[in-house]
């Protein structure tokens, strides 16, 4: 049987200083921010905040200095992003560029392409989105229909992408598209392209969610030309590139901290004289939170060592999403004796928001069912 590796992580020696610096920056920057806005967590969008964060050197930290990064370790970056999330900072604008797109470019793109994009990403000025899902391809990603065909000097892309986070607020997309028609090997013939969303033939519509918020959208490609150097990595290697990208995407602290603001608000509303049932709820949530943090840190440590713990990352994402989704229900169920029921409080407003926002937590970045399928494969059941 497959053994899962969750060895504990020892943080690098100087993280306490880095934490202090990030916290003092955030204390000042977020002082006026409402609790319910902080509760948006990594869906909270502020291009202005992203630029300020970049000035501090906390965007693209691990990237080469020649490209505007600071060649910091992955664990130092981990400390920064968990502090951002715990504080409820509005990180959405640069989040995807920082988490995966920049790393992909550093890994696969030519030097000229890197110079064109990465320094601007590290300055918090150029934002990326990920083109994966399509109208008829959700969990079954390999069935995508958007395709690119070769023309003189490059490629022409046709098709559409859907549910793309911040499609309407990003300059660039990294899209997975078909470069050869689907044959027997479903995962073959897929490639990744860098697409400038200001190109001719690109049309973008944002989509309102059930809260009225516009954080995702649809993108149409009508004969969109991209030059040869916009092919990311090797032609036909898209599937394996996307899968190693998913290890970066699935294990971070954003996979268990999306509801943390509600827990923080709950704790602020309580004093140490609270009733036994509420005390127990606090203990239970804390045990899950602490365990998930240990798991997430363990994976960060393994990624930093150059391993690719994709299976473990799927486990953290699924457990984390369940935790984030259960948290609002636990708080709602406990309202009464010690947990205040004032509907105008920050606590109540945060609770309402997360009750409604949380169903998406087990959809975005890979559904619960897909993740469990990956784990089952790891167990040798498929």
């Amino acid at each position: 049987m497959q053994n899962f590796n969750f060895k504990p992580l020892k943080m690098p020696p100087d993280v306490a200083n880095l934490r202090r610096a990030v916290r003092s920056f955030l204390d000042a920057e977020l002082a006026e921010m409402k609790a319910v806005d902080k509760a948006q967590s990594w869906a909270g969008y502020s291009a202005d905040f992203s630029r300020k964060l970049a000035v501090k050197g906390w965007v693209g930290m691990t990237w080469p200095k020649a490209l505007g990064g600071s060649e910091a370790s992955a664990l130092h970056r981990y400390v920064v992003i968990e502090e951002l999330l715990a504080a409820g900072a509005p990180v959405a604008a640069h989040w995807i560029a920082d988490r995966q797109s920049g790393t992909l470019l550093v890994r696969y793109a030519s030097e000229a392409v890197q110079q064109r994009f990465v320094p601007a990403m590290a300055r918090g000025e150029m934002f990326f989105c990920i083109g994966m899902s399509e109208p008829n391809s959700g969990s079954d990603l390999a069935s995508i229909k958007t395709k690119a065909h070769r023309v003189d000097g490059g490629w022409v892309i046709n098709g559409s992408k859907l549910w793309t986070t911040n499609a309407h607020r990003s300059q660039i997309m990294i899209a997975l598209v078909r470069t050869t028609p689907q044959g027997k090997a479903r995962h073959a013939g897929l490639s990744q392209f860098i697409i400038d969303l200001s190109s001719d033939g690109v049309k973008i519509n944002s989509i309102a969610d059930h809260l009225g918020a516009r954080h995702f959208g649809e993108i149409f490609f009508d004969n969109v030309f991209v030059s040869d150097d916009m092919l990311l990595g090797a032609e036909g290697d898209g599937w394996s590139q996307v899968n190693s990208e998913l290890a970066l995407e699935r294990s971070g602290p954003e996979r268990y901290l999306s509801s943390y603001r509600l827990f923080a608000e709950l704790l602020e509303s309580l004093d140490d004289e609270c009733d036994d049932a509420t005390t127990q709820t606090v203990g239970e949530i804390t045990a899950d939170l602490w365990t998930l943090r240990q798991m997430s840190m363990s994976i960060a440590g393994q990624l930093a060592e150059g391993s690719e713990p994709s299976l473990e990352a799927s486990m953290v994402k699924d457990l984390g999403a369940c935790f984030e989704q259960n948290l609002p229900h636990s708080v709602q169920a406990g309202i009464g004796a010690s947990i205040p029921s004032d509907r105008d409080s920050d606590l109540s407003e945060t609770l309402s928001y997360l009750l409604m926002a949380s169903p998406a937590f087990s959809l975005r970045g890979g559904t619960r069912e897909i993740l469990r399928g990956i784990i089952a494969r790891g167990l040798g059941l498929k």
Binding site: M11, A264, T279, Q280, E284, A287, W290, T291, Q294, L371
Partner: protein, 352 residues
């Protein structure tokens, strides 16, 4: 894992598997105990000069895990933890299997002849009480906390039903029994209870992994509707959830052991034991469900692990105990709140 830890893991996993074979064989407190002690497994924390391993809690966790994973029915884990408590308190260690328990209605008094102390009180559900040579327990006297060692033979048995897995849990009453040794230790009972909870957490992690392993093997081999159960999505999804629970508890146990090596790990132990306890219901349910009727037969070995999980969930702190303990710790945090507290704890383990 260090090279030394890998060696320890290979040794104990091989040894324990060999000892319990064929599974269900009743282990013998003389010959089997001798096998364990000849290899020094009980001396994980003892210094190298005294023939031990000079190990850490992270090392001991490896032994606890494999004891759980093999359902090893001897008090090796209890002995290791009892020895550690005595070593830390600089108390001379009695020979033979040791165990640990907390006392109710207890009293510690100087002996009438002025030589040493006498203990009166009841120890309930003492793990392996009847086959242990000595018991480590805690007691208050004159507003101070003490850690002390009692000779098991001085206790009068007042029953005690075995736990769900059939492991002895004996009630022993002491009435003015002379203590073998005693040492003042602040929060002695809390210390004992916390370390024992860490031990059980690691054992539970081993038992969970064994249940997962058996479940995976079973669904691969058993066919229904013309194909292995493993090929049904309903089964795959269930076992993925079980694997996640195994991973979570394993990670929690390892992280708590690391924290204990740095001292002051009440927070981490509370979180880890609570997380382990909370996994028991769903995990044992999934393991049995995918097995069907064979899993509840006496002949099949799944129950050796699920019974232990049901038992150990209650031992050294059930869900309610640790949820209130942890909840109170969190509510008592003042400066910067839970997040600052939790990160300060893990930053303390930063590599120097």
């Amino acid at each position: 894992m260090t090279q030394q830890q890998q060696l320890l893991e290979e040794t104990v996993s091989g040894l324990f598997a060999e000892m319990v074979a064929p599974m269900g064989r009743e282990l013998d407190i003389d010959s089997d105990w001798k096998t364990l002690t000849q290899l020094g497994i009980h001396n994980i924390f003892v210094s190298e000069e005294e023939g031990g391993f000079a190990g850490s809690w992270q090392d001991a966790r490896i032994v606890f895990y494999h004891a759980g994973r093999n359902a090893l029915a001897l008090p090796i884990c209890e002995t290791i933890v009892a020895k550690k408590l005595l070593l830390d308190a600089k108390i001379k260690i009695p020979s033979g299997p040791l165990t640990l328990a907390t006392a109710v209605d207890s009293r510690l008094e100087p002996c009438a002849d002025g030589d040493g102390y006498a203990f009166s009180g009841s120890l309930k559900a003492v793990a392996w009480g009847r086959i242990s040579s000595a018991i480590v327990t805690a007691c208050q006297h004159d507003d101070n906390d003490y850690l002390l060692v009692l000779s098991s033979a001085d206790g009068v048995s007042s029953g005690g039903r075995a736990n769900e897995a059939g492991e002895p849990r004996d009630n022993l009453d002491f009435n003015g029994a002379k203590v073998l040794a005693v040492s003042q230790l602040d929060d002695a009972e809390k210390e004992l209870w916390g370390k024992a909870a860490l031990m059980r957490t690691a054992q539970m992690s081993g038992a969970l992994d064994a249940a997962l392993e058996m479940s995976v093997a079973h669904v691969k081999g058993r066919e229904q509707f013309g194909r292995p159960l493993a090929k049904f999505q309903a089964i795959q999804q269930q076992l993925a959830m079980l694997a996640e629970e195994c991973a979570a508890v394993n990670c929690a146990a390892q992280a708590a052991a690391l924290a204990e090596d740095f001292g002051n790990s009440r927070f981490e132990i509370a979180a880890a034991k609570l997380r382990a306890n909370r996994s028991v219901g769903s995990s044992t349910s999934i393991a049995h469900q995918v097995h069907g009727a064979i899993g509840v037969t006496g002949e099949y070995n799944l129950h050796r692990f699920t019974q232990r999980l049901w038992a150990w969930r209650s031992e050294f702190g059930n869900d309610r105990f640790w949820a209130e303990d942890l909840g109170r710790q969190v509510l008592a945090v003042k400066d910067g709140g839970l997040w600052a507290h939790m990160t300060a704890l893990s930053d303390k383990h930063a590599e120097q």
